[in-house]
Structure formats: C-alpha cells, structure tokens
C-alpha cells in the first residue's frame, strides 16, 4: 500500500502508526472508564465506612456524657458539658446530636390501648387510630376474642391478610408494620409530621418524664386534656419544674414516681452534614462490667418498611 500526499511524497508508515495509536488510545480510554467505575464503587464503600466511623466516634462522646453526667430534669450535666436529653439538637464536631431519654417516650412494654389510641388520634384519622390500637392489643394477647375494631387469627384469614397475629409480645417496634391498619407513612412520619417510631419504644420504661417528653405525648401519657394539659405544657415550656411538681401532685398524676425522673435508657439520633443518620438505643449499666448495652443500631437510618 502506498499513500501519496499533495507534494508527491509516498509512504505508509505514518498512517499505520496513527491508526495503531488511535486503536491503543481507544482501548486505553475504555480501560480508564472501567477503572473510574471501579474506583467510584470503592470510594462509595469507603465513604459509607468513614461516615459510620464518624457516627460511632460521636456515639462514644455521647455515651461518655451520659455515663459521667448527673441527670437533671431534661439534661445530663457534668463539669464540662450539659447535654440535653429531650431530643433537642446540639452539635458535636459538625455532627447533629439528638438524645432522647426513654422515660420521655411511650414504651409498649406496658401497653395501654386507650392511651395509644389517644396518641394515634393526633397522628392519623380517628378510625385508623382506633383500629391500630385494637389490632395491637389482639396481636399481643393470647386469647382469640377480637376487641372492638380489632382482629384475631380468624379475622386475618377471613379478610385474606398475608399474616397471622403472633399472640405474643412484640419483639421490635418494626413489628407494628405488620398490623393491617398500620401504614409506612404513619410509622415513619415525614419532615412535617412526627412518626410513630419517633414517639414509641418496643419496651421502654415504666416511668414518665414530663421534662423530656415531646408535647404530643403529654396528653395521652398523663391522661389529661383541656386546661390541665395547657397548664402542664406552659410550665414545661417555661422550664418551671417546681410548679410542674406541684401541679402534677394537685392533679394526682404521679402516685409513686417523680414526674421529672430520667430512665437509664437513651435513644440517640446522629446526623452527619451529608445527611447520613444513625439511630441507636443505649442502656446504661454503670454497675456492670460493661458500662452500657447497645440495644439498637440502625445505620443508615432510613425509613422503615
């Protein structure tokens, strides 16, 4: 093969070299592309682990504050720091920290159907609230008698549900997602609406702490409405703990416990600047060999169900 240019020069070495170089360039670009994809995957995994590490580091700081702090109404106070435990957001090394005392949440270990129904009415329509509370009661109890608006095994079969009730204590708050009347939106909540998973615990504690509870729980948990509820809310907002004690005593709300006592269990939600979140539940066990138990660790903390 001979190629002649305008000046009359002939040759083939240069064109072939260019063709070979072009082929090699195309091959190299393909390989580089594959390498970039691989590196992106590795970087994504590395970022995931790095985020988890940062969240775990922050957890250790939170645990240190919880273990060394003295409980005081809605905070844990030590010599160097005061950590709010009423879900108020604080910042530590650019990580948003929200600590919630378990005594400020509704625990399902002591299941009060009416109390649960009252809370649900604030989150969803009345009919769904009644159904969910009744279905949960029938889900747990051992009998086969359906409550009003509830459902036992026969009802599940009759209505073609894919599941049967366990007739046993729930093992995780996520089990609420199995109730026929429960919805994923109600369980998780949204930016504008609190979800059930932010207000309840599968177990929880017997005590209730007004100082750390969200306002939405005060009515259902204390069993009060109207003026009484408004008074407690106003006192809580003003952090007037002395008058809260007096008011709850006058209303005979706490017979054998303090209205402002913290539990030894805390829920900790951490949020990184990039939006990644973790959710944990810690039980403090200072008298044991290990000073705490990690009862829950959800990372990344995305919507459930």
């Amino acid at each position: 093969m001979k190629i002649t240019d305008k000046a009359g020069n002939k040759g083939f070495a240069l064109p072939i070299t260019l063709i070979v170089l072009s082929l090699l360039t195309v091959l190299s670009m393909g390989i580089s592309q594959m390498a970039r994809q691989n590196i992106a995957k590795i970087q994504s995994r590395q970022q995931f682990l790095q985020d988890e590490l940062q969240l775990k580091n922050t957890s250790q700081w939170v645990l240190y504050q919880l273990l060394t702090g003295v409980p005081d109404k809605n905070v844990k106070r030590n010599n160097s720091y005061t950590l709010p435990v009423d879900n108020t957001a604080v910042s530590y090394n650019q990580v948003q920290v929200q600590v919630q005392d378990s005594a400020g949440l509704m625990g399902l270990y002591y299941y009060y159907p009416k109390r649960t129904e009252q809370l649900l009415k604030k989150l969803t329509d009345k009919q769904s609230a009644v159904k969910i509370a009744a279905q949960l009661k029938d889900w747990i109890d051992k009998d086969s008698r359906s409550s009003y608006q509830g459902m036992e095994a026969a009802g599940y079969r009759k209505t073609g549900q894919p599941m049967l009730p366990r007739n046993a204590p729930i093992r995780s708050l996520d089990e609420l997602l199995e109730l026929p009347a429960m919805t994923v939106a109600l369980y998780n909540g949204s930016d504008h609406k609190t979800g059930i998973r932010d207000l309840m615990l599968a177990g929880g504690v017997a005590e209730f702490n007004i100082a750390t509870a969200p306002d939405i729980l005060l009515g259902p948990m204390l069993g009060i409405t109207g003026k009484k509820l408004a008074q407690i809310k106003a006192l809580k907002k003003a952090k007037d703990w002395t008058h809260i004690r007096e008011a709850t005593a006058r209303m005979s709300l706490f017979s054998d416990s303090s209205p402002l006592g913290q539990a030894y269990q805390y829920r900790v939600i951490l949020t990184l600047p990039n939006g990644k979140k973790s959710r944990a539940l810690y039980q403090l066990t200072p008298s044991k060999e290990k000073p705490y138990q990690q009862k829950q660790w959800q990372y990344p903390d995305n919507d459930r169900g």
Partner: protein, 232 residues
C-alpha cells in the same frame, strides 16, 4: 540522469524492521499492562464483592431480633442457632427485603468440587418461630470459590449462681454457664438464653488470602416482655 523517486527495497525492509520492532515493544508493554490491569481488576473485584457482602451481612446482624420468641410448649427464647457451617436467626434488616421488615435468615457454608461457597436465604415475610418458618427454596451465592470456611460464636459469660451445683445440672444447663466469654463452635440461644456477643465467619479466598468477618448483633433487647393494661 533522472532522479529516482520512492524507496529502495533495502530502505523499505529496514523501515519495516524498525517499525515492527517498535510496534512489538509497544504491544508487549500494552499486553503486560493489560495483564496487570486484569489481575488488579480481579483482585479489587474480589475485595469489593467480599466487602459489599460483609456490609450486607453486618447490617442484617446489627439489626438481629434478640427479643424472645414463643416456642411451642410455651417456652420463650430468642432465636439464634449456629453450627460450624450454618446460622439461623431473625433480622429486621434482611438483605432481600426493605429495612424494618422482619424475616428469618439462614446462612450456610457448603463444599462443592473441593471449593466452598457461602450461601444465603431468607424465610418469607410474617414467618417466624411462633407462626412457623417458611424458608425460600432458592439460595443466593454470597461468596464462591473459597478454600475453607468456618463459623464460630463468642458466647457471653454466664457465671454459675452460687446456689447451684454443677454436678446436678442437666447437659443442656451445663452449656449455659461459663465464667468468661468464650469462642465456641455451636450456639443455640434456647440453651444459652442470650444472643452470642459476636459471630465470626472465617474463610480463605481463591487467592489464598485469609479473611475474618466479625459480626455484632445487638447487646440485649428493649422488647423483652410485654404486659397489657386495661385502661378503658
């Protein structure tokens, strides 16, 4: 005398020889680069695959349901059964379903043609020890081409209470008590009441590289029991 245009045969042969040599060297270098790339690609692929599989299992174990289930005959215990080649438990973060949906999980190591595989399957939604576990028939291959694989469990310390005499314990009860946490090859939470502190999956991959996956379930459960209060 007319000046000749073009190249002589010798010039052509020399030019071709030089060109071929250059291209050969270039191709050889390129081929070696390709081989190295292929090797690196395979290794990083193995690492990534292993790392992602570990990530999935780690999430499943970190959200294991450690609360009690109700066994037949009215017995309450958490559900975790582990042997040297098989693990069964229940998790709220199953790999094949969305987080929050509780499913039973089974992981097993099997040998086939002198190579080991790590297999995974789940039970269907709403199946558990109380309502009966309905396992999916299909197994997913998490890892293949392994030289060796073993599972072991870090059993928590459970000191024998002073009022009990070890001589009078049943065989099952003897498995429960130990002075300090210990790695063991078989673990049944029915006998030991508690979940293992950690689970180790150790294997040697096809390249002879030994790896250990340490998986940590929750340390206890918030939902250990429940009572209903009539507040109508």
């Amino acid at each position: 005398m007319m000046r000749q245009k073009g190249f002589t045969l010798i010039e052509m042969l020399v030019a071709m020889a030089i060109f071929s040599s250059l291209i050969s060297v270039l191709m050889l270098g390129f081929q070696q680069g390709l081989l190295l790339w292929d090797k690196t690609q395979k290794q990083s692929h193995i690492w990534l695959k292993s790392e992602f599989r570990y990530g999935l299992l780690n999430t499943a174990f970190s959200q294991a349901i450690t609360a009690t289930n109700q066994y037949k005959k009215g017995r309450y215990a958490s559900y975790f059964i582990g042997t040297a080649t098989n693990i069964k438990f229940i998790s709220a973060a199953p790999i094949m379903d969305v987080n929050g949906r509780i499913r039973p999980i089974e992981i097993k190591a099997v040998e086939e043609n002198r190579k080991w595989q790590l297999l995974y399957r789940e039970g269907s939604r709403y199946s558990d020890i109380d309502r009966g576990i309905r396992w999916n028939k299909n197994w997913a291959k998490l890892l293949t081409g392994l030289e060796k694989i073993t599972f072991s469990y870090l059993a928590p310390a459970f000191p024998l209470p002073a009022e009990l005499d070890r001589r009078w314990l049943t065989k099952e009860e003897k498995l429960r008590y130990r002075e300090k946490s210990t790695w063991i090859a078989d673990y049944d939470s029915k006998q030991r009441w508690l979940y293992p502190l950690q689970i180790a999956i150790e294997f040697t991959d096809g390249k002879g590289l030994a790896q250990q996956w340490l998986l940590t379930p929750p340390n206890g459960s918030d939902a250990w029991s429940m009572e209903i209060y009539e507040d109508n």
